[in-house]
Amino acid sequence: MSVEERFSDEVIKTWERLKKEAEEAGYRLNPDRVFTLRLVQGLIENEKRYGYWCCPCRLAFGEKDKDVDVICPCYYRDSDIEEFGACYCALYVSDEWIEGKKKHGSIPERRPAKFMRDGYSETPAPPQSLAPSPQPLSLPVWRCKVCGYLCARPEPPGKCPVCKAGKDRFERFM
């Protein structure tokens, strides 16, 4: 582990693509280049080992159905960025985190413990079911006041994925 650490073209290309996609959707990749390239290398390694992008910081079962909640980006990313400024692996981070306003280091595991047991046989569901229910809503719906984009999640996105308007231009719609 040295400054000389080398990454393959595949890793670098994938990192460039992810970075572009993240920024277009209002997310940020961790600006620590080596740290982030290692995670991308881990994702590619997991694709080769398991056939899907299992989270590099979690022990995979190796069966897609059991790991579905931790296929990157995982179900826990947005809540972790909101609370801690970074996803569990710190691949995705917030501006506040980058500015050093949030502590850098491991954060608590949000994935329910029961999903991590050998012998757990159900397919992990998202933390809050998105199944249509008459009442009450399982998540608030946010509306971009600039372009009308709607999304159901705990908080509005950092940036509107459609028109790039900031978080403060969202209103609660439902």
Binding site: L39, G42, P56, C57, R58, L59, C89, A90, G105, S106
Partner: protein, 93 residues
């Protein structure tokens, strides 16, 4: 369980690291230990197969009930996750 032994000038504490080969915070932990010449042993649990993997996962959960990585044992204490301040404190760095 096949641990990799990393020699180091500082062997004051018994340090065991349970890690994943792909995890960024696990790599940070190894770097912290390496750069301080700490003697330690580690195992990359994702590289273990079958029975060994089950055995080592059980051990990790014994130390850290969440079974998350990295899990670091320093003498009789356990640190769950890369908590640099706590690791430094326990290693008297």
């Amino acid at each position: 369980m096949k641990f990799t032994h990393v020699p180091g000038r500082n062997a004051k504490h018994r340090v065991t690291l349970y890690a994943l080969s792909t995890c960024g915070w696990c790599k940070k932990t190894k770097e912290l230990l390496d750069s301080n010449q700490i003697q330690y042993e580690y195992i990359d649990v994702d590289q273990c197969q079958g029975e060994e993997r089950a055995e080592v996962s059980t051990k990790v959960r014994e130390l850290n009930p969440r079974g998350s990585f990295p899990t670091i044992r320093i003498d009789g204490d356990v640190v769950a996750g890369y908590d640099e301040d706590r690791i430094r404190e326990l290693l008297e760095l």
